[in-house]
Amino acid sequence: MPQKATAVSGKTEHIAMEMLEKLGKQIMIFDGGFGSELEKRGIMTRCPEMLNITNPDDIADIHRNYIEAGCDFITTNTFGANRCKMPDADLKSVIEKAIENAKRYRTTQYVMMDIGPLGKMLAPIGELPFDDAYEAFKEMVVAARDHVDGFILETFPDLYELKCALLAVKENSDKPVFTTMTFDNTGHTLTGTSPRIMAELMSNMGADAIGVNCSLGPKELKSIVNEFVKYCDKPIIVQPNRGIPTVRCGKAMYQLSAEAFAEVMNEFYEQGVAVLGGCCGTNPEFIKAIAVNKDKPVVKREVIKETMICSATQSVTFDKIRICGERINPTGKKKLKEAIINGDFDYILKEAIKQEEAHADLLDVNLGVPKTDDVANMKRVVMKLNEITNLPLQIDSSNVKAIEAGCRYYNGVCLINSVNGNEICMDAVFPIAQRYGAVVLGLTMDDNGIPQTAEERFAIAEKIVKSAEKHGIARHRMMIDTLTLTCSAQQPLVKETLRALKMVTEKLGVKTSLGVSNVSFGMPNREVINSTFLTMALENGLTMPIINPCNAMMTNAILAFNALRGNAADLDNFVNNVISVETSTPHIPQTPDNLIASNSSSPLHDAVRRGLREQSVEITKQLLENHSPMNIINEILIPTLNEVGADFEKQIIFLPQLISASEACKEAFGVIKEKFQQTDNQKGTVVLATVKGDVHDIGKNIVKVIFESYGYKVIDLGKDTPKETVLEAVRKHNPDIVGLSALMTTTVLSMEETIHYLKDNNVKTPIFVGGAVLNQNLADEIKADGYTKDALEFVEAIGKLLQNRQ
């Protein structure tokens, strides 16, 4: 991980310290809009940053007007001076010139290096890797750090990109850094982040001022500012637009007067906002109007601070019991272990979705399997989870590097599991928590193991919390686990865990966690022990049980506890959500043995055709008691799929029905495979990828389902796949076929490149292509070995090809 740079010249460091001393105590004024000033001068271009070089006098003059209006901060004209937006420019010169222009007329003002978003969406939703974005921001920071007094990261719509930019500043400079995002009238950023979530992450990571810019007019920003006022424990900065523009003749025109603007800004001052400024449409007149508040003491405000973890879109506080889903942890889970070893990340992601749907509040992520690269795996899984779940994550590893990878690439405030009372462990983990703004779970054990008594465990908890505070981590960012022991081996110690829980809750005032199911190892009827222990722990103050949220006994115990301890709403909640624990299996029609041969009247045929996944699984299990796997596959599953395929061709059924049937069939195959590991029921191996530059993967995923339904093994390389990854997969898995997908003409070029690359590297495996713009001619042109118009035709073609080979 990058090392912090300390190269700061003495003079600018002094100015920076002076700024921080004033910040949050006295009202400070930022400058206003820049674009509208350029337009006024008739010099607005698509790349205003180049004006630093071509029109330095104009730029310096705009800064001077703001200085004369009374601002304390001058923002450099460098918003888009990054390698993504200006790939051909000499960025260092542009930035240096911009700073020079900003300094030309400055007297006492602080010069702030302006950094805006890169204009590209970060992977995995876009294609810009987090590390590349980091380098782009770092380049700007390094060019400016010795010449400016601080940084302002502004107008970010995406929390992940803002986190990346803030890391680039904090890891390469010691100067103060302010961060602002844009919010819309829903009270969220374009990517769904609330002011509270932004404030929590930015504050934990050490931003010096936090707030909102651009977005809307001051009046429309009121509720957003209110949220910052309530939850942001750092000085708040607000830079609104000049109201909402009205559109005249197709052009946006700002109408709000400087007085009306200042009136609302004055309300923000009265609420405790510390830094006031303007954005689009505002000019020196507006800054002059708000500068009447300059140097006034910042109004004191009450800030709500409580233990909170969050993703970019969802936060969890511990005002009630929160379930941490334990399913993504390989201990005692054979299938998950295999998935991690085989790189089957879809399995892990599906576990996440299952737990979210079972009402988990956050998810534990532990990928520690011997002889696997848990650092790389943690990075990859966390980034995929950023994309597919809104639940916050608990990054769980005994490897500090894996913890750091998880924290660095997580989009939000994660919970680190864990530290213990060992000094070396705390010295390694707390700085990571501090750098990435995480909350930390402390285990009440140390070099001597787990102490027997509650008092000793409490003493360790106290030591951990105090050590955290020394590292700058406030108590609300700490949680404690008093460690569940197995009742079969250490029965007297179970109550010590509970006593310690109570002591930690009452005396330290921190939230608590327990891995509940450990208590019952080696016991019969484990669920009874687990759910009883859970209830006892809840009564002693447990706030975050780590359990399987899909286990009804456990979730019912929590519902019941809340109903008995809580209010009328909790009682209703129990009545509405309690799950009957009698296992209900889907209604399965009788399956007399003789029906196996008569495909069309087989219940399995019917279930697959209708896309009934659960029924298909149950019927297959039943059939396996009396029939051979090959019999079921050849007599029912394959004929049913063929029938479904024929109906699709004839347009008797359509795409959703074809996919549903294929998915049901895939599930049935899964049962057969699970029960008869030795059965060689795999027809062949297919490597599938959506090519580099293309993120439309729905077509490829349809192909995947159809292939799997026919019993093929599919190696799915995902979307935006580099050619090198395809080659690596071909070498590793030796597939029978490679299938490449592309949606647009532009990405067909990337497809062609991939094909050439594979062939140049002596890949003899046939390469098939598909996608919206492909046809046979184009496929021939790019030297593909085959083209099919849809998934079904593809599977048929491969079937024939493999048959001919035999």
Binding site: P117, G119, E387, Q657, S660, N701, I702, M744
Partner: protein, 206 residues
């Protein structure tokens, strides 16, 4: 036709149905669910700007000339936001059939919302949205339009390949004026339009 029914008809077209009556009960219920969820998950944004003269990138390109016929025009950019992309990724792990229906529903929803937004604009009559990439116009012009409108402000970004993120985004040109009509005859893509060849329309009952 009511908007929901019209949307459903379009979604079925995307899913390969030629006839709306051929839909089975299950797919029908999936579409109903998808339309509700698309509405919940999306963050519709639309920006535009009016121009009277062809822009430099349009000059000497017959596709633009034949579409615009010297009319003033709007450049527009619209999107459903990035949450839809995340949701589609999630659905694909859970239920591919529904993911496919949801994907088609999101596309139709964006078209419908954009139509609805445009109906409330006060520019007289509007032509179809024409998206560069057809009739000799370059796909890369989409990025030029997005830059002119600063579409980044509503979250529209481009991949190296020119594809848009969020996936459910559109950038286009709409001619305006009293005599303008929404008809295939005025479309720049009329010469090589697959829908026309099959006797249908790209969307709606034109």
């Amino acid at each position: 036709m009511c908007p929901a029914r019209k949307m459903k008809k379009e979604i079925l077209k995307y899913l390969g149905h030629k006839d709306a009556n051929s839909v089975d009960e299950h797919t029908n219920s999936l579409i109903d669910k998808a339309l509700l969820e698309v509405e919940q998950q999306s963050k519709f944004k639309y920006i535009y700007e009016k121009f009277d003269e062809p822009l430099p990138f349009m000059k000497d390109i017959s596709g633009y000339q034949s579409y615009l016929e010297d009319s003033p025009f709007l450049l527009c950019a619209t999107t459903l936001g990035v949450q839809i992309d995340r949701y589609i990724q999630r659905l694909q792990l859970k239920d591919m059939a529904y993911a496919t229906v949801f994907d088609a529903s999101a596309s139709v929803f964006l078209e419908t919302k954009a139509d609805e937004f445009e109906r409330n604009l006060e520019f007289g009559n509007l032509g179809f949205r024409f998206c560069p990439g057809y009739s000799g116009t370059s796909f890369i012009d989409n990025q030029k339009i997005a830059r002119i409108l600063n579409a980044e402000k509503i979250g529209i970004t481009f991949l190296e390949s020119g594809l848009m993120v969020p996936l459910k985004s559109m950038v286009g040109i709409i001619k305006i004026g009293e005599n303008v009509k929404k008809s295939c005859g005025g479309c720049a893509a009329k010469s090589d339009c697959g829908f026309r060849k099959n006797g249908t329309y790209c969307y709606g009952n034109a």
